[in-house]
Symmetry: C2
Subunit: 347 residues, 2 copies
Amino acid sequence: MDLTERKLKILQAVIADFIKTAEPIGSRTISKNYSLGSPATIRNEMSDLEEMGYLTHPHTSSGRVPSEKAYRLYVNELMKKRELSQEEKDAIANELYQNVNELDSLIERAAHVLSEITSLTAFALSPGKEQDKLRYINLLPVDDYSVVLMLVSDSGKVSNTVVRLKAPASEDTLRILAKNMTYNYSGKTLSEALTMDIIQNLKADAEAMSMFENSIAPSFIKTLEDMLNVNLYMDGLTNIFALPEYNDIQKARSFFEMINRKADITQKLISRGDGIEITIGRENQDAELSDCSVITATYHVDGRLVGKLGVIGPTRMKYDEVTSVVEYLTDNISKAFMLTEGDDDDR
Amino acid sequence: MDLTERKLKILQAVIADFIKTAEPIGSRTISKNYSLGSPATIRNEMSDLEEMGYLTHPHTSSGRVPSEKAYRLYVNELMKKRELSQEEKDAIANELYQNVNELDSLIERAAHVLSEITSLTAFALSPGKEQDKLRYINLLPVDDYSVVLMLVSDSGKVSNTVVRLKAPASEDTLRILAKNMTYNYSGKTLSEALTMDIIQNLKADAEAMSMFENSIAPSFIKTLEDMLNVNLYMDGLTNIFALPEYNDIQKARSFFEMINRKADITQKLISRGDGIEITIGRENQDAELSDCSVITATYHVDGRLVGKLGVIGPTRMKYDEVTSVVEYLTDNISKAFMLTEGDDDDR
DNA sequence: GATTAGCACTCAAACGAGTAGAGTGCTAAC
DNA sequence: GTTAGCACTCTACTCGTTTGAGTGCTAATC
């Protein structure tokens, strides 16, 4: 059987209406709102579309609901890109840049804006720092028994840990050790630094060495890992309560329990492809996501740092709108954080 | 009418059973499980207790439910402190100290443990830093146009911001400016620092002054505020789905929406009294909390830093258990972070 | 006088029959 | 190939009935 022009139009109409209303769509509705023929004709066509796997039937006497196959077709072929109007763009940019001056707050803000616009649950991943290089290592005394260990990377990311010392250290010792560590590590990527044999490389006096081995080394590793770690920001969690799909308390519960396992979510996001990726229903490996769709996009900062953002929602979502917004956001993040280059004045 | 011995016992029985089952308690149930007389006797007593305001009646032919007044009496007089067994204490300590080496992670961990044990929603507030004093200010170059502004406080808290400069700065200028800022601000509390007239106090060369005014000052204020700001950690949000009180999707929704307004929650927590504070139902000012109880406790670190933690749940909660756990946790936090004093080897 | 047994009464929740309405599938006419 | 017409299906809703837990009251008992 062929997907004739009219069949496509009817399918598109069903998808559009269902995305709006979340109710199964009957032949009469389509017939009234689109001039595609009488209810009976539409019924025949719908019946064909069902046979072809694009529509389903909750029960014999109800209207039609798009299948995952239909959404896939829609996303790949039928959907036309929804250009954002200048006002929309301005509104987004406005929201996005509200007192933001480090990358992570921008990312967090992006998740917020995204959830606001789409009325779905949004998330954003701060960039992976594998290729980022260490620049400085500093040790600053707090009191006799504690120092701040501070790492600064080329991309401007700063991480610090307060380290408790087993024995008090002189400022001199700290200075020497910090200098020595910087000498050894600066220019190395974070991942390299983690795999280096640390003790071997240090050449310092006995006191510094002992302090390093006993107190600093474990914190150093932890701080490196901390720098490498991506942060997951989520927003709009309660948006799902507005969706009829989640009227059932059990559904809402399992959604929240899934979304709360942040480590899992991060893992899943990282392993998604580059660019805009849309997965629909059971295309998501995960059983828990089998009636959700996920849309993610990748942003790049300065050609080196890479992160993701996106939304999760029911398979019935405004794919066109979400795609546009997600794309616009990633573009803007990339533009806002051109490192090293002299930056284009604010907004 | 008097609260006779038997009335008290019956009241206590109703409260205990209701906390367990969330179902209205009938006279037969009490009569069977406690030897306090026949159902008819219990009925008469319950009727009196209702007249006195300790019990209510969802409808004529249902069992009794404790009123807020009953919970208040229970908490103030009837409840006996539930001592934690050594195993319970060990289990808590074990969970609590899992790879924790800064105060904030300990606080976060505490919220986690608390929610796990109580099966309620737990929160913890990192300490307010008003009395904390600035120790260091540092400016570290990242590249020509950006520097890290870093503040270290007496309590070991470190905050940093990456500042974009309008014009490139020499390392010398940065060093001079940092030294000068440290000279002016070290020893001041964070709140004092915020109110000081910054520009007035600097005595540095023209280049440093201009950099300060144009680039550093706004970030400095922001970083100070960031240091002052308390963090709110929450855990066990999805626990409420297991409670019959939140079987209604609307209730669950408004709970989540309330709990998501983090700024509000922080505000409310901060304004609560010292020590263990229990507020029941409409004792909470907030209409949104009118069928919740909130239990908070205060921890002190080193006599200067003060923070809070606690749980929020339905008025029907295990007040005795929650109180004990919350108390044990705050004690442990205080002990774990005796700053300056040589620390007592772990656990 | 306090306690208890007994009984009529109340109400929510569960169940089931009946109905309305939306929608389909099929047939026959256009 | 399209459409009107009609029988049929199924859900959602309504309404009356039943069941069972529990009360309140009265009268008998301790």
